[in-house]
């Protein structure tokens, strides 16, 4: 790995320490990231908009401030990207849709304001499944590709937000997770992605129509970085009436290398279901051994209602979103949507209100079962993805038969949706690589607002393994793809 490669793949925390000590210039890092994006993103398509000039100007300002002794903290001078679902003042925000191609907001999302205040540098707006829905077949701003093997998908819907930190384009990203849209791309790209507790992070200024489940969370190369980003964006915001007034802990300061005294519970239905890939199963068994060696007690639990999570979320959150899209665009701009988006939204439009409300009651039962189970342990465990990321064409959600609906839409989401339904914090982090060098991922979930336990388990596991030290060799993988 070259010197520049080492720079790109340092953790954000380490980059920040070097900047604090004036051993690394924000200008040097941002310029290097922009050059790397220029070199490789024509294939990977992590970004819809790259904010080069603005980022360089901010980097120069950060450099001046740090030199003058006005160091703002661990994100000062750190380049980040955001899913193009988060509004940015004066910068195009497309939602990954042709329909929003000319949308330029007049305000920043609350999380952007907070990262700006922390001195972080917005480097670009990241590619996504259309309107943050999974299931896009044709991406209007380019097909996002997995940096470990560009013939494979990077998952979604925060696709670019997963690609960018993994490829060394930025030091971290912000994504949006309704059912698994942060955790799935984190898993597919071999990085760390957190869905925080609902209410932990303000949703203000983002396009968040799935109002009972939408959350914003960081995607980073290490757990410590994730903790740093979360602390920067979390906290009450009166503009989001559902944001919590609870104090925000210093998550990074609470990280520990051991798990003594913790009881971790493997969720049977989400870990060993029919269809789990043999290499995921082996990686999960090995991960459990590591967690035991770190001092945790590991047991197995059953969440019998978890299997209902995917249809319940589609019946409810999809309907919430569809209700916002019908009048604005679905009636008049049908052909401008991708077929996966428009058919999914149309289905959401046609769910009767009586069914919707019964589904909301069923969601309460699913959530109750999860919370009751968490009363007997500190955290729940399962893989974040049941299969390593597949080839792009095989993963497209083309629904031609009822079997397609089962296999391509419902079953593949079982590993992330239950925790979304409970609105609890859940993190995905690397737990190995398949023989084809594509990542597999561990998921850790805990009680509401107990992000500290999620981070503690994930950090201890990460430090006891070396998966986070692997990075895609873009010169090799993209050259092979071109050949």
């Amino acid at each position: 790995m070259s010197g520049n490669e080492k720079l790109f793949f340092l953790s954000a925390a380490e980059q920040g320490r070097l900047m604090r000590d004036r051993k690394l210039s924000p200008v040097e890092l941002v310029r290097a990231c922009l050059e790397r994006i220029e070199r490789y993103d024509g294939i990977l398509r992590a970004y819809i908009t790259v904010c080069g000039e603005q980022a360089m100007a901010q980097a120069k300002q950060a450099e001046r401030e740090i030199a003058a002794g006005r160091y703002r903290g661990p994100l000062h001078g750190i380049p980040f990207g955001v899913k193009d679902q988060l509004c940015t003042k004066g910068i195009k925000t497309t939602l990954g849709s042709r329909i929003m191609a000319d949308h330029v907001p007049d305000h920043d999302a609350a999380v952007i304001e907070r990262l700006n205040a922390a001195g972080a540098i917005l480097i670009g707006k990241e590619n996504l499944h259309e309107f943050g829905k999974g299931g896009t077949n044709v991406f209007p701003y380019g097909q996002p590709r997995n940096p470990w093997n560009p013939a494979h998908h990077p998952a979604g819907s925060s696709s670019g937000s997963g690609i960018a930190p993994a490829a060394g384009f930025s030091s971290g990203s912000l994504g949006e997770d309704t059912g698994g849209s942060v955790r799935s791309p984190a898993a597919a790209n071999g990085i760390v992605g957190l869905r925080p507790t609902f209410g932990r992070v303000s949703r203000y200024g983002s396009v968040m129509y799935g109002w009972t489940a939408d959350t914003l969370g960081p995607l980073t190369r290490t757990v410590e970085d994730n903790a740093i980003f979360l602390r920067a964006i979390a906290g009450h915001d009166p503009r989001d009436p559902l944001s919590s007034t609870r104090p925000v802990p210093d998550y990074a300061a609470a990280l520990r290398p051991d798990l003594r005294g913790l009881t971790l519970a493997v969720v049977r239905e989400m870990t060993w279901p029919d269809g789990v890939h043999a290499e995921v199963r082996r990686a999960m068994e090995a991960a459990l051994d590591v967690l035991r060696q770190l001092g945790a007690t590991v047991k197995e639990v059953s969440l019998k209602l978890a299997k209902h999570s995917v249809p319940l979320q589609l019946l409810t959150s999809d309907s919430d979103i569809a209700s916002m899209m019908l009048k604005r665009w679905l009636r008049t701009r049908w052909d401008d949507f991708d077929v996966g988006t428009r058919t999914r939204l149309a289905a959401g439009c046609l769910i009767p209100a009586t069914v919707y409300h019964r589904a909301m009651r069923a969601r309460a039962l699913v959530r109750r079962e999860i919370l009751e189970t968490l009363s007997g342990c500190d955290a729940l465990l399962c893989p974040a993805n049941l299969n390593p990321p597949g080839r792009i064409e095989a993963a497209r959600e083309q629904v031609d038969t009822p079997e397609d609906m089962d296999q391509k839409v419902l079953l593949r989401r079982i590993s992330t949706y239950p925790f979304s339904m409970a609105n609890i914090p859940a993190i995905a982090l690397p737990m190995g690589y398949a023989k084809n060098e594509l990542p597999v991922s561990l998921q850790v979930a805990a009680k509401p607002f107990d992000e500290n336990t999620v981070f503690r388990v994930a950090h201890a596991y990460e430090r006891a393994t070396s998966w986070h030290q692997r990075h895609p060799d873009l010169a090799r993988t993209l050259h092979q793809a071109a050949a």
């Binding site: 609902f198 009972t212 589609l314 069914v355 069923a362 309460a364 919370l371 839409v409």
Partner: protein, 64 residues
């Protein structure tokens, strides 16, 4: 649940949505699958669902 293309078109018309022919099968499969799933959930959990209120997305009183 069995749904026909005609039934889906009627449902769509009720919300003033016209689904083009080329997407009608796709939408029909999706709606039928979701309503079928809900039938199964009702069969398994219906009584318990009667006893709970719909989900609030936040945690106003719980001891966490």
């Amino acid at each position: 649940m069995m749904l026909t293309r005609d039934q889906v078109q009627v449902l769509a018309a009720a919300v003033d949505l016209e689904i083009p022919e080329q997407d009608l099968d796709n939408v029909t499969i999706r709606v039928a699958a979701l309503l079928s799933a809900m039938e199964n959930i009702e069969a398994e959990l219906g009584q318990d669902m009667d006893a709970v209120e719909p989900l609030p997305p936040v945690f106003p009183r719980e001891d966490f």
